[in-house]
Symmetry: C2
Subunit: 338 residues, 2 copies
Amino acid sequence: MDRRPTIIDVAREAGVSKSTVSLVLQNSPSVRAETRAGVRAAMARLGYVYNRSAAMMRSSSAGLIGLVINDLRNPFFTEFATSVQMALSARGFATVVANTAESPELQAQVIAAMIEHGVAALIISPAYGGDGACFEALLRAGVPAMQVLRKVDDRTGRFPFAAPDYVAGGRLAVRHLLAEGCRRIAFAGGVAERGVTRERMAGYIAELAGAGHAPLLVPGRATRAFGRETARFLLREHPDVDGAICFNDLVALGMIAGFAEAGQAVGAAFRIVGFDGIEESAQSYPALTSVGCDIAAFGVRIAATVLDWMQEGKAPPPELRTPVELLVRASSHTPGPS
Amino acid sequence: MDRRPTIIDVAREAGVSKSTVSLVLQNSPSVRAETRAGVRAAMARLGYVYNRSAAMMRSSSAGLIGLVINDLRNPFFTEFATSVQMALSARGFATVVANTAESPELQAQVIAAMIEHGVAALIISPAYGGDGACFEALLRAGVPAMQVLRKVDDRTGRFPFAAPDYVAGGRLAVRHLLAEGCRRIAFAGGVAERGVTRERMAGYIAELAGAGHAPLLVPGRATRAFGRETARFLLREHPDVDGAICFNDLVALGMIAGFAEAGQAVGAAFRIVGFDGIEESAQSYPALTSVGCDIAAFGVRIAATVLDWMQEGKAPPPELRTPVELLVRASSHTPGPS
DNA sequence: CTGAAAGCGCTTACAG
DNA sequence: CTGAAAGCGCTTACAG
């Protein structure tokens, strides 16, 4: 494994100048087909590999996109990240990824590293908290950056925000449970101060109020463990509750497990709706009704939006909301006799 | 957002030469403390950001590591990838990640892209199949690459392999179920021709044979859906089976759901053991016994191994096996009366 | 359509 | 301890 061949070696091998090789690399139309073929053949013979870093230095068109995610172990974010990465890859961009594990400090650090690596743009589902220094760094470096799923910086002109329509999702879930005959519906999980929680709760509260019902909020971590605890809590403290909308599918799946453990049936007897529509929601028993955010499609769309921004200068709208739909399954729905 | 400042700007601002700035950047001890401070201050004033691509070009020490994973939507691989990425980040390396979705074609494509981006090393959990061209490309490019979790290329001298000790895990699981009193134990899920399946099954078969029992193999996809189908299948076709070892936790979790659906209790009546020890296994109801691979620790270890290889030239052993341990939980274990 | 030259932002010897 | 010079592998005008 000695030195990798460069365009100079290729030029010599093909008997042309190195500019010609460079033009071939860029598929310039001003190179004759035979010449092009000769150069390509020389590359193959030498095992030439294009050095993007060198190219980038001169032209400063990176080909690297940063993806910063607050919790990559949560399937909702995993599905999003994977979808974005694959869409970027299909369009010729590589993805530098980092999990911040909800730590603003880690986030600042990985963003700084990505800027140094010359990412052409950044997609971030930010951690809450911190002093916002990382956004300043992005500003200074002039890196286009989009906030997704969560909004932490309000300068949406510079850091456009995109997310599913959480409020509408909360409403959909309530409407569905009322239609199924629920009389008392709780909202479980989600840290109360956070934007996403506030939105999901707001839809729930508004729709419930419209129907003349009072809300019952049980905020908490967005985990399976919390869902499980909450199942026990509701059975003990609120036996009148006959339906729950969970902050996300993890909480809902935990709640299903908690009810199973307590010997309480889920479905007609107690209806549960999750949020996000992760793949697993279709596979649980009973299958989980969820507010589907079509996160895979959302990821593809975000990838396209960022690429258009970078490449064509088409700035995204300051705030984009994508539609959600209710995925009705057995955890909340009893099939009619018809 | 005009041009980013370069070391020349910093040098001018600080009143030194650009070599001095470069030395400060590398924390060279041969720069006087005051000089260093002056340069740092100038950088802060200008909002200088280090350009790693330029640095890399000259020194060819990238700072980018490639991580190629066959199925990033599977929590086992997600937990691994996240762990590797965070460990690399802590040591100053950025991770370029790609999901190949089990496609050898996609895999070849993303590996080529990563080589062009100048990754200093590659960690790959490969897709099965394909013509192995991507390994040739790595060879030609001289990029150190480790195979993890799955071995597809046999040249472990050049592409060292590391994985949990799957065979031992299969044995552990059987020993445990026999000790719990199982008389007939099935092995469910896993595509029979694949290496990982063969190893996990081999441990199961060997240990069972040692105890004078015959195996019952139900190979298939490694999914929740297959686990669920298999629950029904076993109840219908093999009512004598009273325990199952699943290829992985997803199959096991699906089987638990399938039994719940069929109204069959899991635990004393039918014991289930999963494989991998993903986080969710501790949260299901009943909690899932699993062959724990401590995938987070495995990821940290792989990150360290690759970095040592690159930085110190310490080649990893051709084949590394890490220990597994049984995580005994309610799905297979009835607490004694003591 | 092709060649010679300069430059991207940094590092690396090599002098002072 | 610091400065002047060359070079990493490519792209980009600019001539021919």
